[in-house]
């Protein structure tokens, strides 16, 4: 006897503790505290440089604070245990609170029949009352037909010579909050998936070359993509009359089992997606400062005819009209009396029996040699166009299996917020009583939120009813 009562009291105790824990996790205080905690610690994260170089951090903060911040993971706080724990608490909080609350809301939302009582509406501040001519019967019919437009499901009550109609709308909008909370869960789950199973890396591909492996951003992993990615060409376009970049474009080809399976030109904002990997245009660089090919244009001074020829460094070209042989010697920065004139092509013109003439053509000042009257002495004048250098494109490579959870969360969040903020559960009541000559009509309504808005609504609706009774 003694023993068993002990047992039940222990069990009781256990239940109480569980109950308290449950209540703790269902409570709003917990969510507000956690939310504010996240807000405040996130401020720290924007002040302390994240994922920076530790040597630099050490110098910046000194040994004591460096150690202190390091211990608390403040240099990479968004990935720290305690930051994640806060989100975990939020998740538990949302789940527990929703279960707790839903069990009681459920009955309100899904009960078969609505019950209304006149006394609940009678003394509301927002009520609108007016008088209309005509008999009770007439008025009742007019109002009923009007009221039916609002809702098919109306309830009629006749007590003490008073006729009352009731209806309610938007009962299910009470579920909006749960949609919102569910959306937060989706986002947290998606974020966690991305953090644990996602990949982020960077790779450079020279034009014409291909890669199969990518180094992760934190340099801890080399990921084998399982396919080959080739860059055929990289192009940079500038805004007209400006040095500002307008567009970066890389022509990429996916190769699998030696077959080209996908071709796409990517630009910023328009990545290539393949097998869960995304390739974003992120940077570019010149591989060498020397051009691959350029077009040399020769103009004969005598006839005015232009001859053009694609040339590489080291190439020789026999210019027509017997103007001689042109060779491209080098491509380099050109210093003229100590001033840099930028990149220039250096070449030599040889004609039979004449001394070779060296020419320099600075790209930004094509007239340079002409002005010095060097080429003019000869019979031809040369300039260069379409200088094509070798680039490598810099691609950011990501894969995030959690992103669809997050996006689903976004959609639910928007839908849920819309329901929560702009829709409400309204109960509406219209009562009619008569003093023989005239009828007194009262329009009344309540909502589970936005009382002010409901008041406006009642005023407007009463106007409509009044019109209908005329």
């Amino acid at each position: 006897m003694e023993k068993s009562s002990n047992k039940t009291s222990i069990r009781q105790e256990l239940w109480n503790i569980l109950y308290e824990i449950w209540n703790f996790f269902a409570s709003m205080q917990l969510s507000v505290v956690t939310i504010l905690f996240l807000a405040i610690t996130s401020i720290l994260g924007t002040v302390i440089h994240q994922s920076g170089d530790s040597g630099h951090n050490f110098q910046h903060y000194g040994p004591f604070w460096f150690q202190f911040f390091e211990t608390l993971d403040l240099f990479d706080m968004y990935h720290s245990i305690w930051y994640q724990a806060a989100f975990l608490i939020l998740s538990i909080n949302i789940i527990v609170c929703s279960i707790d609350k839903l069990s009681s809301t459920w009955k309100i939302i899904f009960k078969k029949d609505s019950s209304f009582s006149f006394s609940k509406f009678e003394n509301l501040k927002s009520n609108v009352t007016f008088k209309v001519p005509g008999s009770l019967k007439e008025t009742e019919l007019k109002i009923k037909s009007q009221f039916l437009k609002l809702s098919k499901n109306i309830k009629e009550e006749k007590v003490d010579g008073r006729i009352t109609f009731y209806t309610e709308k938007g009962r299910k909008t009470r579920l909006g909050v749960y949609v919102v909370h569910l959306s937060i869960l989706f986002m947290i789950v998606g974020g966690a998936i991305g953090m644990y199973f996602g990949f982020e890396g960077f790779v450079n591909i020279p034009e014409g070359k291909s890669i199969t492996k990518v180094l992760s951003k934190d340099r801890t992993e080399i990921r084998d993509l399982g396919f080959e990615l080739r860059c055929d060409n990289f192009d940079l376009t500038l805004y007209k009359n400006s040095k500002m970049a307008k567009e970066y474009r890389s022509d990429l080809v996916v190769i699998e089992n030696n077959k080209e399976v996908l071709k796409k030109s990517i630009i910023v904002n328009d990545p290539l997606r393949y097998k869960g990997y995304n390739f974003y245009q992120s940077s570019y660089s010149e591989i060498s400062s020397k051009p691959n090919v350029m077009t040399a244009v020769f103009r004969s001074n005598e006839t005015g005819i232009e001859y053009s020829k694609k040339m590489k460094i080291g190439d020789k070209y026999e210019i027509p009209e017997g103007l001689g042989t042109f060779s491209v010697d080098k491509y380099d920065n050109y210093l003229f009396r100590g001033n840099s004139l930028g990149d220039a092509v250096f070449g030599t013109i040889k004609r039979d029996g004449k001394k070779p003439v060296e020419v320099v053509v600075p790209l930004d000042h094509p007239q340079f040699d002409m002005m010095r009257n060097k080429m003019k002495k000869g019979k031809v004048y040369v300039r260069f166009t379409d200088i094509d250098k070798s680039f490598q494109t810099g691609l950011q490579v990501t894969s995030d299996p959690g992103v669809w959870w997050v996006y689903l969360g976004f959609i639910l969040l928007i839908a849920g917020c819309y329901i929560t903020f702009f829709m409400c559960h309204r109960s509406i009541c219209i009562s009619i009583s008569s003093n023989g000559k005239k009828c007194k009509v009262m329009v009344s309504g309540t909502a589970n939120k936005n009382k002010q808005g409901m008041k406006f609504w009642v005023e407007k609706y009463a106007g409509k009813i009044e019109n209908a009774c005329k």
Binding site: S31, I35, N269, C417, G453
Partner: protein, 271 residues
């Protein structure tokens, strides 16, 4: 007519609207209020016209983007939405105290914008060329404007007892309710702003959230208003206590808007 000319005239019109509203409160004359209202509508029209002209001008220059790409342009838009919101409240409630504060906001925004040196229309960086940019910035600023009006209401609520009854006219409950409406408006647009920003970042840089200071601060702001909503919904907070939360929220908005430029990051809007 150029957008900058129109917009500099608009500064004065907002200024006069503010002066008329204020004097109507002091002398409690209906007619003066009317002038304030008419001036506000003129200022708003000018503001919209200036915005549209600037948009057209950017096409003429060959760049063609919505004028929301720097601090100057965003301030112009900010003033525009605040004006719409306060004129809506004024129309709906026939009370003018909010218009006084908000026309002052518009004036400050436009003045501050006119101090910006970088008001030339410039081409967009490749990363900014996206329809998401338009939606993202648009929704964010709609949100900020809602919060600005909520801030005005909260300040009013806190100062209410110090002001004469006949100037304020609103009851505390009404101000409280309007604050809530404006916060809701702001919250839903801030939410949309953060979401579109995330989707855009994902399509441009390959990750929807990079913990960049601007993103963080918008999240912090979101958290503050989230706390506001929960305190109201669940704890039944209202009045002065809740007004303080709304004010803190607006400070966070301001920091997200201006302060973040002093921190390193991707959204270098003001410089």
């Amino acid at each position: 007519m150029s957008s900058s000319l129109v917009l500099s005239i608009v500064i004065y019109v907002y200024g006069f609207a503010f002066i008329f509203y204020t004097s109507s409160a002091i002398f409690s004359k209906k007619e003066i209020t009317k002038v304030g209202t008419i001036l506000s509508y003129i200022a708003l029209s000018g503001n919209i016209l200036g915005f549209a002209l600037r948009w057209i001008e950017s096409y003429d220059k060959g760049y063609g983007h919505i004028p929301l790409s720097n601090l100057y342009e965003s301030l112009v838009f900010f003033a525009l939405v605040i004006a719409i919101l306060y004129l809506y409240l004024e129309y709906r409630h026939k009370k003018y105290i909010i218009s006084i504060i908000c026309s002052l906001f518009c004036l400050i925004c436009m003045l501050y914008a006119s101090f910006q040196t970088a008001d030339a229309i410039r081409p967009l960086l490749p990363a900014l060329k996206s329809n998401w940019l338009t939606i993202h910035v648009l929704t964010c600023f709609l949100g900020y404007s809602g919060f600005a009006v909520a801030f005005a209401l909260s300040v009013l609520l806190i100062m209410k007892n110090a002001l004469p009854e006949k100037i304020v006219k609103f009851t505390e409950a009404e101000i409280d309710d309007l604050t809530h409406q404006m916060v809701s408006f702001g919250f839903i647009f801030l939410t949309l702003g953060i979401i579109t920003g995330a989707v855009w970042a994902n399509s441009a840089w390959g990750s929807y959230w990079t913990w960049d200071p601007k993103e963080n601060w918008s999240l912090i702001t979101w958290f503050v208003y989230l706390a506001f909503l929960h305190l109201r919904f669940m704890k039944g907070w209202h009045g002065r206590r809740l007004a303080i939360v709304s004010i803190i929220g607006f400070l966070a908005v301001m920091f997200t808007y201006f302060g973040v430029n002093y921190l390193p990051g991707l959204h270098s809007y003001g410089n």
